[in-house]
Amino acid sequence: MLNRLFAQVGQTALVLFFVSVASFVFLKLAPGDPVSLMLGSDYNKDSYDKLFTELGLDRPWAAQYASWLGDFVTGDWGRSFVSNEDIFRLAVMQALPVTLCLAAYALVLALLIGIPAGVLSALKRDTWMDLCATGVAVFGNAFPSFYLGIVLIWVFGVGLGWFPTLGFVAPWENLLEGLWYLTLPAITLAAWYIGLIARVTRASLLDVLGHSYILAARARGEGSARVVWVHAMRNVLMPLTTTIGLQLGGMLRGAVMTEVVFALPGLGMMITAATLNREYTVVQAGVMLSGLLFVIVNLVVDQLYTWLDPRLRRLA
């Protein structure tokens, strides 16, 4: 057990190492550097060279990477070139919670809407209700999040004035307001998952409902609601968890766009801005963090899956 854990940790570390090297090389190969950006229209060679040297960007790539790695593993994530902000603070204390809140809220929304929609369309298979629910699911999968976000902002933020259009209020400081502020972004991010979850739920539920144990439950006098929501859904949860788990790591993809559109200072925004600024230290920290999230999510899903499916549990 412990061996397995160590192997897992080792493998994760290796993957993350690979990821950091790749992002470093990418950003170094890309034309442009943070110094040109910092100087902008006030560019002059002297200031440029001075800043370039000061930031250590004149050293050989290998040296730059090595010193970054050395610091990183000892817990010093360095400072942003442009903002001089402590990267650990920026990434872990500031950006990560935003993205996690957004993702969690979006996931809850997606489950709350996606599962009933999927169940409805499975139970009312081939009726207009199925068509509507499938339609919602399919369209949720189809709108680019940046466009959906902008439309939501204009309709529900500007037009109807129901929700704030941008900004982040920490839900751990003020839960209601935090959720209120995050609602439109969460819907934007959730749209894709609503579709996904509805479709998986529908397909899995249809499959599960065909099993004899459902018939058997009804033969014991169980009511339809209980049969569907307890007996069947308990089994639908397994494929659902797998799917969500696989896609959750990719939630950052949607988060990038959502965070840009709604001006949320999350990980996606941080990495996007840093990529455009060629701040390899920030990008590496961000990508490592998202890689780590990816790995953690997978581990959690594995655990969850074992917990959900008794057949995978080992007899003690």
Binding site: D33, Y48, V82, I153, G157, T165, L166, V260, V261, A263
Partner: protein, 549 residues
Amino acid sequence: MSKIDHRSLLAAKLAKDFSRGRRALLGAGAAAGALGLAGIGSTALVSDAHAQGQPVKRGGTIRLGWIDALDTLDPHFTSSLGSIKVINNVFNGLLKVTWDGKKVGFEPDLAEKWDAVSDRVHVFRLRKGVKFHNGDPLNAEAVKWSVERVRDPANKSQHAYHFEDLTSVDVVDEFTVRLTFSKPYAFLPVALTGSTGRAGTIVCRSAIEKLGRDYGRNPVGTGPFKFVSWRENDSIVLERNPDYFEKGLPYLDRVEIRLIREPSSGVAALLAGQVDGLSLVPFQFVPELRKSPNIALYGQVEGNYSYVGMNNRKGPFMDVNLRRAVAHAIDRDVIVKQGYFGEAIPAFTPISPPMTPFYDVNIAKSSRGHRLDLKKAMEFRKKAADQSEVTPVYIVAEGFTGSGGSGTRISQLLGPMLAKIGVKPKVELSDRAAWLKRRNTGDFDMFDEAWIADLDPHETITPEWSTGRQWNFVGYSNPEFDKLVAEASDTLDTKRRIVLYNRAVDVLLDDAPLAMLAHRKVFKAFTRRVRGFQYIPVDLLNLHTVSLG
């Protein structure tokens, strides 16, 4: 050229500006002449809203959407107007820029009195009792340290060139400081305030020595607002400085600046009432905001010009005739209408309207400068060495026009225009970092950009087009032009300067390392509950007179 000339020039200028300030307070004609170069009271210019007799509501938090990017809040090292707009609320300079609706003026800010002892020696008497936000006193030492910080080559401030002719900064007494220059320096008021004050802003020594590079993230100044926090990609918060030297100001308790990357989200937030104002409005959104009755737009043609730069060092545009052909093939009315949604005027020369008296209000009727003339363009094109179709590399970066990036609109509009003279640009899009790198290293045939927030012909053409200067990205070199602008910058007589600059501009535009495009308006937008905003056409957003209705 003489001492007298110099002094009278400055005297006249200051007296006029100051008297206007006074007039607002004391009534017309109050001792304008008597003031002369002598001291100015520490009374503030009163804002329009209050002058109109409306009751001012104190307190409250203003929320502003900041669309333009910020780099650092250290005034001596910032390159971003997005930062400058914040810095101007946290810091003060020796002088400040004002605007009376017609022309730009310079007024003492931290200085209470400014004496030009000679055309090379300037003495500033400081206000007494001014304190930095951390409690440090503002005195002559602080000013000296601050100016030398900019000038010190070791610091490599990108604004050091403003003080390249400064020979010494001396502390006369605790509240008097003397600047000595190696030659007459007509540009001084602009140097101290121009680029909206990057060189002449007074910073806090002890804070910088304590914080080092972090000072840019934790600025300590003397201004109406104290810096509170800056959350990367999220927000900057300022709060009222109760000890601000302009008594009774500022009115607001708190300023919350939301950093917004996506401009359409910023505009939506303004319309939804989520923010009270926007630091900048890209042209695309101006029609939308003009329609809204709840929004007040502030924007006029400012000290700027947009242009197409053409590489003189390599590629097809080494050929002056091809450059001239391009300069005459551009329909600036289309650029204004389509590129800037009508919120600009065609630029014939780099001298923009706020640069009175250098700007020729009748320029359109003259024959000077770049203007659409296809016949002329074709003639130049025929003289060009390369008669086949030319495909210059045109570098562009994404972004809304007027929001930091120059965007891709101009390149799209130029395509069909240049096609008429057999020039088919190959547009290469990249992100801003790569674009800047290519521009700075001359890796392009053409690009478009704008020089913005300029107050004087000197800063709008000299470092940009003189041989070997830092912003001469196209590698333009003409000794005649160099000579003319050098002479102009050492000249104090305005009439003479006008002549010199006109000649310099004519030389420049005939060589056409650039093709003129437009002088653009720069917009700020507020909801109607924001009162007392004083618009200054150098992209400033000063909040000390602002209150919430």
